[in-house]
């Protein structure tokens, strides 16, 4: 088990992912960006393999001597389906069902690796001068997603980001 923890720690240290919280008048937004290697997305897509990123955004109130109190959880799943015949990539937001076809692989990679200005929470749910923590966990699925229940028990690839913030 100790070896497992060391491996996870080393994986976390390699990543330099960024997470920003934007506090607007009524809504709390989050912007996150994965700094994974290009090969993680690009090579599979060039081979016509669908790639998806699953973003789990969690906002919790920081508690010193107990587990953080969960305020809200949002899951966003984005998938890119390559079309090798037409050299196009279909960008699909699985949560909303909206799709778009692009003809640049870089656009597809940005679609997968960047969550920009994403609304996560109504500001009215938060209190001022109370520490909160935004945590984003990202699972990367290469290929078809296993619909079985146990597939989610052991995510293959993950990135984690945390950001503490306080309402002004």
């Amino acid at each position: 088990m100790a070896v497992l923890m060391m491996m996870q720690a080393s994986f976390a240290e390699d990543a330099s992912d960024t997470l920003h919280i934007q506090i607007k008048e009524k809504v709390i937004y989050c912007s996150a960006e994965l700094s994974v290697k290009n090969s993680v997305f690009k090579l599979p897509m060039q081979d016509g393999i669908a790639v998806a990123t699953e973003w789990h955004v969690k906002i919790g109130k920081v508690r010193q001597y107990w587990l953080n109190e969960s305020i809200g959880n949002i899951t966003v799943m984005r998938r890119v389906e390559p079309d090798l015949l037409t050299h196009s990539w279909l960008l699909v937001d699985v949560s909303s069902g909206i799709s778009q076809r692009v003809y640049s692989i870089d656009d597809a990679i940005v679609f997968l690796s960047v969550l920009k200005h994403f609304p996560v929470l109504d500001r009215s749910l938060l209190l001022t001068n109370v520490p909160y923590r935004a945590a984003v966990n990202v699972n990367i699925h290469v290929g078809a997603i296993n619909p079985a229940w146990w597939a989610s028990l052991w995510p293959t690839t993950a990135a984690s980001m945390r950001k503490d913030f306080t309402l002004p």
Binding site: P44, D47, I49, D83, L85, S88, R101, A144, W154
Partner: protein, 718 residues
């Protein structure tokens, strides 16, 4: 390290191997296997922990393990190994097959083939788009179309024109939009319902904005359609957009999509090649582990069932070894172990009966032995405490038994011991005993008794009473001879003394009475008739001789009387020096006599001072009379814790060896006027005191020693 201790390390060794394999198979983030890999690792850790626990328990066992546990462990290990080895072989073979299969599946030729197939499919699409773009380029500046989009051509005319275009180019659908994205006209082959105007998408707007011909492929429910967008460029700017659609041939499209799907699947498999292998390995490993675990459990249950009777048998054997014979093991029904158990019970029962019989016999033997030992002890005690010497000789003339008394009496040398030949022993000064034994053997009577003198070492003479008996084999199961030797020297001496005392008493009685009138008569004769005789001188000599001899006879009778009626010594504490002082006072007129007083003035001796003084006077008289004036006489005493000794030495001519042996006998004297009773009486006094009077040296100096115990016990004294 012996084999048993080495066997104890087997579980730990297996655990270490398992842990090593666990570390080697520890799942990494990119190795694949997922949850199954962790399940396998968990199973292996579990098995390693079980083995470690069992190994530690084995190592901590100090005493004997539970009966059957080793056999059970060996059975489990054997069964698991029997299963594990083929499972590992199968897994290795399967892994090799998978590797080979992978190499075949992902062969370079397949890869190239799929690339080419995909290129063909892509070429078809590119060809369709290229043809569409080339055809559309012909209509970018078409005057009729420009007129239509600028409103200079009516709807019917423009549709007719579009229909002609559609037929000429083979387009299934042609639509015409103005710069404001309003549909000016449109035709579609076959279905009128499809003429519903659909808004322009971003691609169409891009084509108008950039002024370039753009194509795209759109999936419709009827199939895939190649859509082309051609901007209608006027003299100054883009005035409209021509959108055309060509239904792609379903068969070709289906094949192309199949190629794409196959390519995608192939690439995905290729990407997951390591994962597939790892997954396969982990599946096989999982199956192996589960099988091994199940086999272990089944083997454990089987071994427990099999070894339980063996363990019970071993426990029973252990209890029998410890001496508990009340052991009975439960019968296992109708199998070999059951038969073994029944046989064991029969054996244990017989063993118990035999042991009980042996114990009973042992008790009887012990009792008999005790009795025999008791008898032997009584006999040995009896012999040891006997003052008579006893020698038992077997029929082969070998000494079987002799007690300490016979050793003391005869002063036997060390060669006299059991199993020694009696004939060889009874040589030299023991020949008298040998002669007695020979006489006993050769006579017809069974009993023989003899008295004889024996000359022992150091000139000591012993008067022995020997009694012998022939032991017959009929009564005692032993045939031989029993010799009983008694030292009757003292008894003979006592009898001798008693005889002398009796003689002395009778002599005194018969002679003493007439002596006094004889002496008185002689004196009277001398007084009354001396003047009347002729020769006075002769008369005086004769009367004097009568008187002197009468007096001598009186003294002799007195000594005999003293010897006969020796009084018991009246013991009291007397200083040793007092007796020496008495000697000094009596003999101080003799210059040659020196008396040495001892330093311890308070040294006492329990004795009759009159009798001791008599002894010392006797010794001093003898020394004075036996030496001339030039010879010195020394008197001194030596005191130890137990004894007081008075020594009288003189430097005279000494005593002959022949006389020395008879010196203490009664009526033996070397002096012409001696009675020969002085030293006999002195020795008698010494012996009555529990001491002794000895002649220590015959000459140079002549040395007598009177040795008396300082503390005579009351009983002896009385």
């Amino acid at each position: 390290m012996n084999r048993v201790n080495a066997m104890r390390l087997v579980p730990l060794l297996m655990a270490s191997l398992l842990l090593t394999a666990t570390v080697m198979l520890w799942p990494s983030t990119d190795s694949g296997g997922g949850l199954l890999a962790w399940v396998n690792v968990s199973l292996m850790l579990l098995m390693a922990l079980l083995l470690v626990q069992y190994g530690i328990r084995l190592l901590r066992e100090t005493g004997e393990p539970a009966p059957g546990s080793r056999l059970r462990a060996k059975l489990v290990i054997a069964l698991v190994t029997m299963l594990l080895v083929p499972a590992m072989v199968i897994q290795m073979a399967a892994s090799q097959m998978v590797d080979k299969g992978m190499d075949v599946w992902f062969d370079v030729r397949v890869d190239t083939l799929l690339d080419r197939a995909l290129n063909l499919a892509q070429g078809f699409y590119e060809r369709v788009e290229k043809d569409m773009k080339r055809d559309l380029l012909d209509y970018i500046s078409d005057a009729a179309l420009l007129a239509a989009v600028t409103g200079n051509m009516d709807y019917r005319t423009s549709n007719v024109y579009l229909t002609e275009m559609s037929k000429a180019e083979g387009w299934q659908k042609v639509e015409l939009f103005d710069v404001n994205e309003r549909q000016i006209g449109g035709i579609q082959a076959g279905e009128l319902t499809a003429l519903q105007a659909s808004p322009l998408n971003s691609t169409a707007r891009l084509a108008m904005r950039l002024g370039r011909v753009v194509t795209e492929l759109v999936m419709h429910k009827n199939g895939e359609v190649a859509v082309g967008y051609a901007p209608l460029v006027g003299p100054v700017s883009v005035l409209g957009l021509l959108r055309v659609e060509v239904q792609l041939p379903a068969g070709v499209i289906q094949n192309a999509r199949s190629v794409e799907e196959d390519y995608r699947n192939y690439r995905q498999l290729e990407r997951n090649r390591q994962t597939i292998r790892s997954t396969f390995t982990h599946v096989m490993l999982f199956v192996t582990l589960v099988v091994v675990l199940l086999a272990g459990v089944v083997a454990l249950l089987f071994a427990r069932r099999l070894t339980a009777p063996v363990g019970e048998l071993a426990e029973a054997l252990h209890r029998i070894t410890e001496g508990d014979l009340d052991v009975e093991i439960a019968h296992s029904p109708r199998d070999e172990l059951g038969s073994l158990g029944r046989s064991f019970n029969t054996m244990a029962n017989r063993l118990k009966q035999n042991v009980e019989a042996i114990e009973q016999a042992q008790l009887d033997l012990t009792s008999a032995l005790d009795s025999s030992r008791q008898r032997q002890y009584v006999l040995e005690s009896l012999l040891a405490n006997l003052h008579s010497g006893v020698v038992l000789i077997d029929s082969e003339h070998r000494v079987r038994l002799l007690n300490q008394a016979v050793r003391d009496i005869l002063q036997l040398p060390k060669e006299w011991k059991p199993s020694a030949d009696f004939a060889e022993l009874s040589l030299g000064n023991m020949h008298d005993i040998g002669d007695f034994y020979d006489e006993l053997r050769h006579q017809e009577e069974d009993y023989l008794q003899r008295e004889f003198d024996m000359a022992l070492s150091e000139g000591r003479t012993l008067h022995v009473l020997a009694r012998g008996a022939r032991l017959s084999a009929s009564g005692t199961a032993f045939s031989g001879y029993l010799l009983v030797i008694d030292d009757i020297s003292e008894l003979a001496e006592a009898q001798k003394n008693k005889a002398w005392a009796e003689v002395a008493r009778r002599l005194a009685h018969e002679i003493k009475n007439p002596l006094t009138p004889i002496k008185l008569s002689a004196e009277r004769l001398q007084r009354r008739f001396r003047k009347q005789v002729d020769n006075e001188q002769v008369f005086d000599v004769c009367t004097k001789a009568i008187i002197d001899q009468t007096e001598r006879l009186q003294r002799l009778i007195s000594d005999f009387s003293t010897l006969a009626r020796m009084p018991q010594p009246k013991l009291r504490e007397v200083p040793v020096n007092t007796l020496l002082s008495d000697m000094y006072e009596l003999f101080h007129s003799y210059r040659r006599i020196s008396v040495k007083i001892i330093e311890d003035e308070h040294a006492l001796c329990q004795c009759d001072p009159d009798q001791v003084r008599q002894v010392l006077i006797n010794l001093m008289d003898n020394a004075v009379s036996a030496t001339d004036e030039t010879c010195a006489i020394r008197v001194y005493a030596v005191v130890s814790d137990a004894f007081a000794e008075w020594h009288v030495e003189d430097d005279g001519d000494g005593i002959d060896a022949e006389n020395a042996t008879k010196l203490f006998e009664a009526y033996y004297s070397t002096k012409s006027d001696g009675s020969g009773l002085g030293l006999a009486i002195a020795k008698r006094i010494a012996e009555d005191h529990g001491g002794d009077l000895k002649l220590l040296s015959l000459a140079g100096p002549t040395h007598f020693c009177l040795k008396l115990p300082r503390h005579v016990q009351e009983k002896e004294a009385t």
